[in-house]
């Protein structure tokens, strides 16, 4: 079994556990849904509909949702020391990291889809470039997930990891957050060139942090 297959195996295991006990998914979905709702009420329909505001709040909600999903996922690993069974194995640490990134990205994509649909309905948003918006969404999630998973692994044995994960990861994620927000706003307003420009940057972030995570994760877990 090669490294790619091992990572997929971990991702499948994670998704199976999340399907049976969707604690992280439900918490993230509730949180993002409420944030979108509160945003529409707090800002009022005029201001909340502005592409920049709507995009920024959506991605901030996704960022917190990613933290919730990742910390819950690793809480489950720590119950009964399930994580140790993987860490013992050859290539287990890298597979754990990569598999978690894939699985958490998939769960986050479902949350983002639901939150995005809610935003469109509640804020009555018009989407000029739907394909570009989806691309920004996919690449944004792929750019966020590696950093969140890495930060969760670094904070794994810390009791206050729910607080520590955002503290560790959010400063690193500011450029990704800017790219997601600007790219989504451009897709909403119909500026294809700008939106595509941000997708390139997000793809680079996803690649760099994905590879960086794989490189440092064995030492980071120890």
């Amino acid at each position: 079994m090669n490294a790619f297959e091992r990572a997929l195996l971990v991702a499948a295991r994670e998704l199976a556990a999340e399907r049976r006990h969707p604690d992280g998914f439900v918490a993230a979905l509730t949180f993002t849904g409420l944030l979108v709702l509160m945003e529409s009420l707090a800002f009022g329909p005029g201001q909340a509909r502005q592409p920049g505001v709507a995009s920024a709040l959506f991605w901030i909600a996704i960022l917190f949702a990613a933290t919730l999903i990742a910390t819950r996922s690793f809480d489950r690993e720590l119950e009964d020391d399930a994580i140790d069974a993987i860490l013992v194995l050859d290539g287990g640490r890298e597979a754990l990291y990569a598999g978690k990134v894939v699985a958490i990205a998939i769960v986050l994509a479902i949350v983002a889809l639901a939150a995005g649909a809610l935003s469109l309905v509640l804020l009555d948003l018009e989407v000029a470039l739907a394909g570009h918006l989806v691309l920004i969404g996919v690449l944004g999630i792929l750019a966020l997930a590696p950093v969140i998973v890495l930060a969760t692994l670094l904070a794994l044995r810390v009791r206050a990891r729910v607080a520590l994960v955002p503290i560790l990861s959010f400063p690193i994620l500011i450029p990704q957050l800017v790219a997601c927000t600007q790219g989504a706003a451009a897709a909403l307003t119909g500026d294809a060139a700008v939106a595509l420009g941000w997708t390139g940057i997000l793809a680079a972030f996803a690649l760099v942090y994905g590879v960086l995570g794989l490189t440092i994760v064995p030492a980071a877990i120890e």
Partner: protein
């Protein structure tokens, strides 16, 4: 020429956790067969097993485990909640490249025929322990590390565990077991050690 052990070994290993030395310069080469490890609570038995498993950082020394990563079964079941016993064992066997189709048969032998498809958290502590120990048979690694494997087991499971261990020993696998029930296994053991305050001595 440097001595390269063909068996799993620790060479002058020191482990420090929370600024406290838990293992102090331990050297141990495991022969094929059963090696028993005794010691009072907190003496360092679990840390020694985890050092063999590669689960604790070594402050000094070297660890060698030829033949692939060991099978380590600790105090807790080490199975993921949300998955069934069958799913957990199939995942771990598949990761190692073992044949996962044996998992159901093995779990039946361990008395979990009706329970293997229930999420692991719905099983009793003893049933979870059985599922965890069934990995001895589904993964069949050259080195098996067991930390108090008799805890939480009823008589049937004890018999099953003894049978699984006997099979493993006949196959030539090495088993390092930390246990307080050493009297029952003394006759089967090829080596016996006592660990005291992080230092090891043979008995």
């Amino acid at each position: 020429m440097r001595h390269v052990p063909e068996n799993a070994s620790l060479n002058d290993v020191t482990v420090v956790l929370d600024d406290r030395p838990i293992l102090r310069g331990i050297s141990l080469e495991l022969a094929r067969g059963l090696t028993l490890l005794r010691g009072t609570n907190g003496a360092g038995k679990t840390t020694l097993l985890r050092a063999f498993a590669g689960l604790v950082p070594l402050a000094r020394g070297r660890r060698s485990v030829p033949g692939g990563p060991p099978l380590y079964i600790g105090h807790r079941p080490m199975l993921l909640r949300g998955l069934t016993a069958r799913e957990n064992l199939s995942f771990l066997a598949a990761f190692r490249g073992a044949i996962a189709s044996d998992v159901a048969d093995t779990l039946r032998k361990w008395g979990l025929g009706d329970e293997m498809d229930r999420p692991i958290e719905r099983l009793s502590a003893g049933q979870r322990r059985r599922a965890s120990l069934a990995r001895i048979e589904t993964e069949q690694m050259p080195l098996i590390l067991l930390d108090e494997p008799f805890a939480d087991l009823d008589t049937d499971a004890l018999v099953r565990l003894r049978a699984a261990l006997n099979t493993a020993l006949v196959r030539g696998q090495s088993v390092l077991m930390a246990t307080h029930m050493h009297h029952e296994l003394d006759q089967d053991a090829v080596n016996r050690y006592v660990i005291d305050d992080g230092a090891l001595r043979e008995t």
